[in-house]
């Protein structure tokens, strides 16, 4: 029975995947600002990415003393994504980390199982995204109160699973909804290991080269309130497509780049000037 069910599911998926006239470029890149998009890397192509989040522009840690955050680095990413097929992408990256667990090695798997079609017989694209982050911080055995005390190796791990659902409404406008679940094996006292959230992302294409991108993620947790000092990560940016290169210049209150970092740990407030300049450079190579 299980085999039959698997066969039926696979059959449905492959039927959709092999259909033609798919809507192209719902988003131009595999990431908006903080959130991933339904896009995957084309088969046999390697996408080399460098991401950077500077320090707070304003607030107590910003201003002239830090040259409006440019002298600080909240998070830095070096990574690659590779297209195994046109619909399956694997990723490997290293991030500095902005939460209590730092020096992250991130592995990811992305599978696009539905693609929007031009005739609207499939109105949306859907992609599953899985992330496994391992903190490679040095173990601090002297202090059992800190997360990097790491009583067990598994405490270094954090996970995120997402379903990305997007529709390209027109050549100029795309919208995406992102239900997510983040699980951290070790959390601060009184925090929840599991955290559900809902994200939104959109792209407004101004010209062939320039687009405006926006995303936001809202965690569902009684602990993640303004009163407790948590804020939903929100980003706005400019995307520049030069053909082969995608540059993104953005402003966001999220300090971390990875989902396991910015969804549970964003404690910067836009209204206090605690947002930062960030950029991502992506360059695709044929392999």
């Amino acid at each position: 029975m299980i085999r039959l069910a698997i066969f039926v599911i696979l059959f449905c998926f492959t039927t959709f995947l092999f259909s033609q006239d798919f809507t192209q470029q719902t988003f131009k890149d595999t990431k908006v600002i903080n959130t991933h998009t339904v896009e995957t890397v084309v088969k046999r192509k390697l996408d080399v990415r460098i991401g950077h989040r500077f320090g707070d522009i304003g607030g107590g840690n910003g201003g002239w003393q830090t040259f409006y955050g440019l002298e600080n680095a909240a998070d830095i990413l070096f990574g690659v994504e590779y297209g195994i097929t046109d619909n399956i992408t694997v990723g490997l990256s290293r991030t500095k980390g902005a939460g209590p667990l730092k020096k992250l090695i991130n592995t990811s798997l992305k599978y696009r199982f539905f693609r929007q079609k031009n005739d609207d017989s499939m109105p949306v694209s859907m992609t599953a995204y899985g992330l496994w982050s391992i903190s490679t911080m040095k173990q601090d055995t002297s202090n059992s109160e800190v997360l990097n005390n790491f009583p067990e190796f598994s405490h270094r791990s954090m996970y995120c699973v997402q379903i990305l659902i997007a529709r390209k409404f027109s050549d100029a406008f795309s919208f995406q909804v992102i239900p997510s679940y983040v699980h951290r094996n070790l959390v601060p006292f009184n925090d929840d290991n599991g955290l559900f959230s809902l994200g939104f992302a959109m792209r407004i294409q101004i010209s062939k080269v320039f687009g405006i991108i926006v995303d936001a993620t809202f965690p569902f947790s009684e602990l993640r309130t303004r009163e407790n000092g948590y804020y939903p990560p929100i980003g706005i940016g400019l995307e520049i497509d030069t053909g082969g290169h995608i540059f993104q210049i953005n402003f966001t209150n999220a300090r971390g780049i990875m989902e396991t970092d910015y969804i549970p740990y964003t404690q910067s407030d836009w209204s206090e000037g605690q947002f930062r300049l960030g950029f991502t450079i992506s360059r695709t190579f044929n392999l």
Partner: protein
């Protein structure tokens, strides 16, 4: 006395040989599917130097087809080859089907219409259909592009394949068995008499010439047959218009321009098939192309169509230019008219 004895002894041998040749000629009946080379050989034309070398181990037409269409094939012993090129396959720039209604002419407009009728892309490279029937390669102005590299390839198809593999497709050098495999596949694409659009009386004339053939070389019939196809693909590099606002000064036909956009531009740029620069049918894209048409940079279609782009370290995928034979000035104006219409 000795000479007379040798002559007497050789005479019956010569008679026997001549009768065998005559029998062979009499038995050879041509039809629509008769390969052109076979006919020419029966008229005394020597075999080309790109006949398949059967002694090369591990080569096959099937592997040649794989290499040309997907870039990878099985190694002679086990395992798969490395991809020949990370950037292109042969069919990125060449068709493998007949693409000209009349093989004796290089007429871009006739080719475009034929490509549209037969569901083919309209490409920069000459079709590989009938490549083995050609005797010269990388002709004309390709010397300007590849310099002395073209010299040894001009009359050697194997070397032409290698040059195409390394320079045109920016890939690795092919091994002997791979080149031989490609050659084997190309021989499956050789011209047949039906491809020449011969009349019934042409068949009769050729058949008669074969039957009457007594040795040597029947220049007249060979030349006649070869007048139905080109033995080399001409190539003339031409420049973009000096004034890119006024263009080539011709009225463009947007309907024809749509064919070029769909069959040519989109072949490589749709969904970034071979290019990093994506094209689609969005108004935003047409506006971008329209606004850049008049510029003096690689963003201008005039510029990239006539000069192409160059492979660079780290970005070896490039765009080959269109020669005068592959896209006329009128067609470029048609393309511009279509883009301007779609941008409105």
């Amino acid at each position: 006395m000795k000479k007379v004895s040798i002559t007497i002894l050789l005479f019956p041998v010569m008679i026997l040989f001549a009768s065998l040749v005559a029998d062979d000629q009499a038995d050879f009946v041509i039809g629509q599917s008769t390969p052109v080379w076979e006919v020419l050989e029966h008229l005394g034309e020597p075999s080309p130097n790109h006949q398949v070398n059967e002694s090369v181990n591990g080569a096959s037409a099937e592997k040649g087809k794989d290499l040309m269409l997907i870039g990878i094939t099985k190694k002679p012993k086990r395992g798969k080859t490395k991809k020949q090129s990370k950037h292109f396959v042969c069919t990125s720039c060449h068709n493998v089907q007949k693409e000209d209604p009349d093989l004796s002419l290089s007429n871009p407009q006739a080719r475009l219409e034929y490509a549209n009728e037969n569901g083919l892309p309209y490409l920069q490279g000459t079709t590989l259909f009938g490549a083995v029937n050609r005797t010269s390669f990388f002709n004309g102005d390709y010397e300007k592009k590849y310099g002395k590299l073209v010299e040894p390839t001009r009359h050697d198809l194997r070397k032409a394949i290698q040059l195409c593999a390394v320079e045109c497709s920016q890939g690795r050098k092919m091994k002997n068995w791979e080149i031989e495999s490609v050659l084997m596949y190309l021989w499956t694409l050789e011209l047949k008499l039906k491809d020449l659009n011969l009349e019934d009386n042409d068949y009769e004339l050729i058949q008669e010439a074969i039957s009457d053939f007594k040795g040597g070389k029947d220049f007249e019939t060979i030349n006649y047959i070869q007048s139905f196809y080109q033995k080399g693909s001409p190539a003339h590099f031409i420049t973009p218009p000096e004034n890119r606002k006024t263009g080539y000064g011709m009225q463009g036909n947007p309907e024809n321009g749509k064919l070029i956009y769909d069959l040519s531009c989109m072949h490589c740029h749709e969904a970034k098939r071979y290019s990093f620069f994506e094209l689609d049918n969005a108004k935003i894209t047409f506006r971008y192309l329209k606004n850049n048409f008049t510029k003096y940079s690689h963003s201008s279609i005039y510029q990239v169509a006539r000069y192409g782009t160059s492979p660079k370290p780290g970005k070896k995928a490039y765009m080959p230019q269109y020669t005068a034979e592959k896209m006329s000035n009128q067609q470029l104006e048609d393309l511009r008219a279509y883009i301007e219409m779609m941008a409105e």
